[in-house]
């Protein structure tokens, strides 16, 4: 290989390295700056003013301990279900209690979404509520609908 060809290859390699570092560095920096805060997306997406964001931040901070408490209860109940299953018994009552806790958790979350939506300008609040329902409850609904559409699904239930 001639000296010129080696030089060109070296330059191309160097440029690839520089391009790679620049691309990855800029991408990470930009992504990290955009997701720097739990509420950063809300402010941008729903064009909130500083005062609206402050109010929503208070609601968010008030909701988080209640959410964590509910998660702890669900985890504890889940553990009880597993213990009953471990003893070879059927945890019917525990499953009902677990489902009730999950429903309460979802109800609390929806209530929080409604509070937050009311703290936004009307149009944005409506959009927020719809988006949150789509992202949280929508996924479960979609999953359940797809289960209903599975071939042989009814037959499988008939076997129980």
């Amino acid at each position: 290989m001639s000296r010129s060809a080696r030089l060109i290859l070296l330059a191309a390699f160097l440029m690839l390295v520089v391009a790679g570092f620049s691309y990855v560095g800029a991408k990470r920096l930009c992504a990290n700056r955009m997701a720097a805060d739990d509420l950063a997306w809300l402010k941008r997406e729903f064009r909130l003013s500083d005062s609206e964001l402050t109010h929503i931040r208070e609601l968010h901070q008030g909701y988080l301990p209640r959410c964590r408490e509910m998660c702890a209860k669900i985890a504890a109940k889940q553990s009880e279900v597993e213990q009953v299953l471990g003893r070879g018994e059927t945890p019917d009552d525990k499953l009902v209690e677990l489902a009730t806790l999950r429903a309460q958790c979802q109800a609390q979350m929806l209530k929080h979404f409604q509070e937050v939506s009311r703290a936004m300008p009307a149009e944005q609040g409506k959009r927020y509520l719809s988006e949150m329902q789509r992202l949280t409850l929508g996924f479960h609904q979609q999953f359940e609908s797809s289960m209903g559409a599975m071939p042989g699904h009814q037959h499988m239930h008939g076997d129980h």
Binding site: A19, K27, A31, C71, M132
Partner: protein, 105 residues
């Protein structure tokens, strides 16, 4: 060497000997004119494409400009991509903070 030394008795003999030792070559017609023309034109040695590109790369100004251009273009692409993925990450982060069972999709 002075004029007197050429007139000395052995000088003519030496000159004849030197002429015999350096036989004059027959030059093609217009050789001298052709040489001068090439020198005046500054005619470069013909180079291939690899040599030309290597020559550019070795020019500091061109090499630096190329590197800066590559950095700007790739950083721009990174920012555009980071903006899109950052928006998604920020949304997922918020939704996961209010719904711990949320799986980013």
């Amino acid at each position: 060497m002075s004029q007197q030394s050429f007139n000395e008795p052995g000088a003519e003999k030496l000159s004849a000997l030197l002429r015999a030792a350096r036989p004059a070559l027959e030059l093609p017609p217009g050789f001298e004119r052709h040489v001068w023309q090439r020198i005046e034109r500054g005619e470069p040695r013909s180079a291939g494409i690899l040599e030309s590109v290597a020559g550019w790369l070795l020019t500091p100004r061109i090499a630096a400009a190329g590197l800066v251009l590559v950095m700007i273009v790739s950083a721009g692409a990174g920012v555009a991509r980071g903006f899109r993925s950052g928006e998604r990450q920020a949304r997922d982060r918020y939704v996961a903070s209010v719904d711990p069972s949320y799986l980013p999709r």
